[in-house]
């Protein structure tokens, strides 16, 4: 398999495996836990490397899982002391683990595969050269096999325990009362996340894993309000970002991992701006509409209150409105235009007159 196939394929598989877990982490308000784990597995990876006396996948996963378990347990224990909050607990534990890992790497193993660049930024560029050989047969890049395995693992995990993950995420109290231990589900999710992080780590490095886990799900959350849609949508977003990132990186000769994460950031930005339901643009448009409607309603109520009163002539004159309501002429025009378009007022020689629907609107607004 050539690099032109192996690299983007690995990218898509890494992004998909990560994105599968992102939805639950976001909904559990544990987004930063994936950052913690992707850093904290480093001493475990190094320990695995030492014990296996070389790069060994199984030893790496085992060491990383143990390091992740230590991290999660330490964070939980720190939180339980109630002397530090959840964010601080994570902030204390993961740099300590990462620091331990960097010390180990630079102290004894400065000449080996695990160099600082690979730790920070991964080495997805070279995945095609690290092939999986079995019985003398070259079965293609190891990374493609590993990442496919991780995708399958995460797919099975979420597929089989979807109900349990959903219930413990939404209502841990009911889950516990019904006999679904939230702690077991929590640790299982953390275990799967740590195994996934090992794979993602080798591709994009410790710093960027969190982006592949969290950003696709955060993007999907802006686009849907159904969990069953959010999960597959986040996988699609992650995979598309990986492909875009790869193409851009090749075109401008830049870091592939960096370009992949930048691409997913851009997709998030687009969703934040243009999501039909929750986007900034849609919200602003909605707010503008609401303000316009309220201005017209205020106008109608004003006319209604002065109707039949001695000053009604003056209060309803179009010139006076701007003055009396302390509105800019532009705003007054907008309110008058809105009210006449809705059939609430009609103009009659420089005055505004309420129509029957206009009076009805005023009564409704005032009754509320």
């Amino acid at each position: 398999m050539s690099s032109a196939v192996a690299v983007p394929l690995t990218g898509v598989l890494v992004a998909s495996a990560c994105a599968l877990l992102g939805s639950f982490l976001i909904l559990r308000r544990m987004a930063m836990m994936s950052d913690a784990i992707s850093h904290a597995i480093l001493p475990g990876l190094v320990a695995g490397y030492v014990l296996a006396q070389g790069p060994n996948l199984f030893a790496g996963f085992l060491g990383a899982s143990l390091a992740a378990a230590v991290t999660v347990t330490a964070v939980e224990a720190l939180k339980r002391t109630r002397r530090v909050d959840a964010g601080a607990a994570i902030g204390i534990v993961f740099p300590a683990m990462f620091a331990l890992g960097t010390v180990l790497v630079t102290w004894r193993f400065s000449d080996i595969h695990l160099d600082a660049d690979a730790i920070l930024f991964g080495n997805i560029e070279f995945v095609a050269f690290d092939t999986f050989v079995f019985n003398g047969q070259d079965l293609g890049p190891q990374s493609v096999w590993v990442m496919s395995g991780l995708c399958l693992l995460n797919l099975l995990f979420i597929g089989i325990f979807y109900k349990e993950l959903k219930l413990t995420t939404f209502d841990a109290g009911l889950a516990a009362a019904l006999g679904f231990s939230p702690a077991i589900v929590h640790y299982a999710l953390m275990l799967v996340l740590s195994i996934t992080s090992v794979g993602a780590f080798s591709a994009v490095g410790a710093v960027l894993v969190v982006a592949l886990v969290i950003v696709p799900a955060a993007t999907a959350y802006l686009l849907t309000d159904r969990l069953a849609v959010m999960i597959p949508l986040s996988v699609v977003i992650g995979a598309v970002a990986a492909l875009i990132g790869y193409r851009v990186a090749i075109a401008v000769d830049a870091s592939i991992a960096g370009a992949m994460v930048s691409a997913v950031g851009v997709l998030f930005g687009l969703a934040l701006l243009f999501s039909p339901s929750q986007g900034v643009v849609a919200r602003a448009w909605q707010n503008r509409r609401n303000r316009a409607v309220i201005a017209s309603q205020m106008l109608v109520v004003h006319l209604f209150n002065h109707e039949g009163a001695p000053d009604s002539e003056e209060e309803s004159s179009v010139e006076h409105l701007s003055d009396g309501l302390r509105w800019s002429p532009a705003r007054t025009d907008m309110a008058v235009a809105g009210a006449s378009r809705r059939g609430w007022v009609v103009r009659a020689n420089g005055h505004l007159e309420l129509t029957e629907p206009g009076r009805e609107t005023a009564r409704l607004v005032l009754a509320r």
């Binding site: 909904l27 979807y162 109900k163 959903k166 939404f170 009362a177 006999g179 679904f180 159904r226």
Partner: protein, 273 residues
């Protein structure tokens, strides 16, 4: 004020209490919040647990459901430990205990009530969906089945929670402040539901805050302030003496045996505490 006769629907003979707590002490971080509670809640009753803020009302029901750490004592539900009776207990947590922005709809939340019987891994199917739909109908929420839960009003969210407990198809329903912050329609729906559950022989235990409405809704009363102050049939237990002992000993203002006056006074006291 009407009080339903007690044990109208309970089986003959000496009934097993729905909830039985023996020498129960609950502690969070080594600090006991409930001291040495002995309590029997009769099967078939509509029971209110009443007490001031911080009295341990929620803790009491959480302990009964195995959700709070027991420092001492034991819990039995219809005569057996809770773990063996899970399927008999429906639970309505406080509405504020969950995130209503969760990406799901009302029907899906109600279906969660059926998860307990399904156990691990088995997925909800058509039968569970029908149970959930019927439960929503019973609370007048069928039209909102596919509504995003964040778009429901507070009262509607509360009715979704009650429908979820109904979907558990339990014998004992434990509710944490179901009447807090709900509209009149929801309040009526909850009261109708409580009456209907009792008519079907079920037991309901509610943490309740409003002393004025309590005599209308419940027939058994537990007064709690870190320990049990008094418990028994509602009318006999809802006395000025008991209330003043529960809410902090201002006996001199509680001279009359008029329920509403007692309720008002006690609530004023609670506000001051």
């Amino acid at each position: 004020m009407t009080h339903a006769p007690l044990f109208e629907h309970a089986p003959p003979g000496t009934p097993v209490p729905a909830v039985s707590l023996r020498d129960l002490t609950v502690a969070y971080r080594e600090t006991p919040v409930l001291w040495d509670v002995d309590l029997d809640i009769p099967a078939g009753s509509l029971t209110a647990i009443i007490g001031p803020n911080g009295a341990g009302k929620s803790t009491l029901i959480k302990a009964a459901l195995g959700l709070a750490p027991l420092a001492a004592g034991s819990v039995s539900i219809f005569g057996e430990p809770y773990k063996e009776q899970r399927d008999l207990v429906g639970y309505v947590p406080q509405r504020g205990s969950v995130d209503w922005d969760f990406p799901t709809n009302a029907l899906d939340v109600v279906m969660m009530g059926t998860y307990g019987r399904l156990g691990w891994i088995r997925r909800p199917g058509k039968a569970q969906r029908e149970v959930a739909m019927r439960s929503l109908e019973q609370l007048g929420m069928a039209d909102f089945a596919h509504r995003q839960i964040s778009q429901l009003s507070g009262g509607q969210q509360q009715r979704v929670f009650l429908a979820r407990a109904l979907a558990q198809d339990a014998e004992l329903y434990v509710m944490d402040e179901p009447f807090v912050g709900v509209d009149a329609t929801t309040e009526r729906a909850i009261v109708d539901l409580l009456r209907e559950l009792q008519a079907r022989g079920k037991t309901v235990v509610c943490v309740h805050h409003d002393l004025e409405s309590a005599p209308d809704y419940f027939d058994w009363l537990v007064l709690l302030n870190v320990r049990i102050i008094a418990d028994g049939p509602f009318a006999a237990t809802f006395t000025p003496e008991n209330l003043s002992r529960t809410y902090g000993g201002r006996t001199h203002v509680l001279g009359r045996l008029d329920h509403e006056a007692v309720a008002r006074e006690a609530q004023e006291i609670e506000l001051r505490i």
